[in-house]
Amino acid sequence: MVAQESHAHSAPQGFIRKYVFSLDHKVIGLQYYFLALTAVFVGMALSLLMRIHLIWPMAILPLLGEIKPETYLSLVTMHGTIMVFFVLTTAPQGGFGNYFLPIQIGAPDMAFPVLNMLSFWTTFLAYLVMLAAFFVVGGAPLHGWTGYAPLSALQSAGPGEGLGADLWITSIALFCVASLMGALNFITTTLDMRARGMSMWRMPLTCWSWFITAILGLLAFGVLLSAGILLLMDRNIGTSFFVPLGTVNGQLTGHKGGSPLLWQHLFWFFGHPEVYIAILPGMGVASQVLSTFSRKPIFGYKAMVYAMLSIGLLGFMVWGHHMFMSGMSPYSAFAFSVMTMAIGVPSAIKTFNWLGTLHKGRIRFHSPMLFAIGFVSLFVSGGLSGPFLAQPALDIPLHDTAFVPGHFHLIMGVAAIFGIFAATYYWFPKMFGRMMNERLARIHFFFTLIGTYAVFMPMHYLGLAGQPRRYSQLTELKYLHPLLPLNTFMTYAAIITVAAQLIFLFNLFWSMFKGPKASDNPWEATTLEWTTATPPPHDNFAGRTPVVNNGPYEYSVPGAPRDYVMQTDPATVAAH
């Protein structure tokens, strides 16, 4: 942040400056991406263990032995935390956003390269602290990724709620700081460093999504940090922000007067914008890819921008819909529920516009497009279970049942991941100079699409039938016994789907070294990253600053020589 001479810093020499403490946003983007890649496999492994334990609770597993109920719950906690933070808040924004925002707006780097480097390494430190929780006395915490107090505030409330929980909170606090540093960079870069001719209304929708996501993060992560500080204080120095008078197992806890609901308000004030942080970049990528591979401008560009802005704004006004059953005032519940239904409207607009983009297009079915199409399907499925949960009367039977993870997994755990896949397949040629294998990509796509539907659609049925969340076994309640066959089916589907991700992993690394060489613009796309070399040079544009004359999605312009007009091409008749 301090004393940078200019953005035309020469390319660094030496392994450490080039690949470890690099200031180049492209290297930093890849660092974030590969961090997320390791995290997602850790997260998937944890979820497989969970699913296996659910249907074979007495099984003795190799290396781990028997999974006790507290271990199961720590798997649940760490799976959720690692996936939400280190995958969904890292790969789309820190990974692709870092790599492509400057290039897509025509800038040589981010506004503050040193801060950018620091924000990655702080994220990495947070990741190490999080993983450390598994290895300390008591193990990882068991309070869920939502960390409700007093369960998370009392060291005596369960195994893992000692040092493990302190490490969990510390990791999240570090992550907050890292995200805030990143958000600062994204916002300043977008506002201040666009190339000549690149007005806000000519930015690709990916840039809009990263910009709005950064604003959400800027406003939300500070609140999470505050909650974490208060929780650490309650746990370790005897304050009572969240813990009322009470006992654990007959022993007085020594606290009094605190409010468990205060934690929920603070957490969800962050937590709801967080899920939009997770999905908005995926929406941006979906728009980008659908337009490119339909050879059509995005349907309703301005509406898409306004929709994302509305989602961002409304996202701050709906947090109470996580708390309908919490003991919160029922009148507040009503207000939150109306706002929540309102937020379905911009989401619907985006879906209509994606369909409108496909309508009368000339669709090319390369791998990025498959995942973008999958994204739309999954977004529809996951989104439409929202209106059930948004109505408090219907939330009465559905809250804290499997219906809820069914909803958010389809949206976050699959649609957002498809956004990451689409972005990977789309930008891989630009980042690595080679093409990924299309046949492997198709196999990966179909296994993942069908597999994830097979795992997560049934969760809705289970939730309707009343299967509660976060149960380590389904053996105790009689009414759960008939649900075991469906649970078994889901476990097998999960095993197959996770295995199919190895195809992706192989394709990724094989193609990096052995894939056929890529041209500068293999998809015949229009945005600025495709005007520069593959991979881009250190300052992105080899000393030439792009001058932008066209909007981002000028495909199939009548009268133009090719079916795409790049943003730097001379202005078309119908330019925006």
Partner: protein
Amino acid sequence: MASFTPTVPAHHPTTSRGKRADLPPVAGGGDGGRPDPGSPDYGGRLRRARLGMAVALTPIAMLFVAFTSAYIVRQGLPTFDPNTNKVVHDWIPVPLPTILFLINTCVLLLSSVTIEFARRQLARQVALEPVQSIPGVSLGRERKFPWLALTIVLGFSFLGGQWLAWSDLAERGFYVATGPSSSFVYLLTGTHAVHLFGGIIALLVAGLSVVLNRPLPSRRIVVDVTAWYWHFMALLWIYILALLEFAH
């Protein structure tokens, strides 16, 4: 030796915040008219740093917004008292060391004044630098009042004063965990102090950059954004004090 301000070549790779493509590139990197003191894109860097600081102050504000809402909620919170089977309020306001806090407030406001002088002094220095390097031109030996150093001293005095205030509270039996109101007093003033200390570090870095002979424009940028940060910290302190004194 003289160093004339180089004119920026037309093809200089500067960014321009998306201005219309048909306009010629603005000299000095599109910085809005500020004279280029020899460093490429100095005006742009200053603008960017200020924008970055404005953005950075937002999450800090949100942190204190969250603490404030926790404070207000906790104050009014009814809790179930099993001894009477009734719902009671258990908020007992802490008697604050008001005199000490007011003295500290004056110290902090004074430091805001001194850092503002430091900021303007440095801005003037940077503007005059190209003129001063012209042989034969002399602006006289400028007396440079150590505004920056004074600010650092005042900053440390403020922190020392806060420490005295906390000691006073502790002597009277109010520790962090004594009760909800004392928890918040320490939380709000402590978090503010941590952030102020960060500002002092930035000033020390700026001071160090003089010793290390870093270029003047870079020093100016650091002091400029730190000054805005510092003013924000002063306003934040007044807000915290008002909240603690009046909102109970």
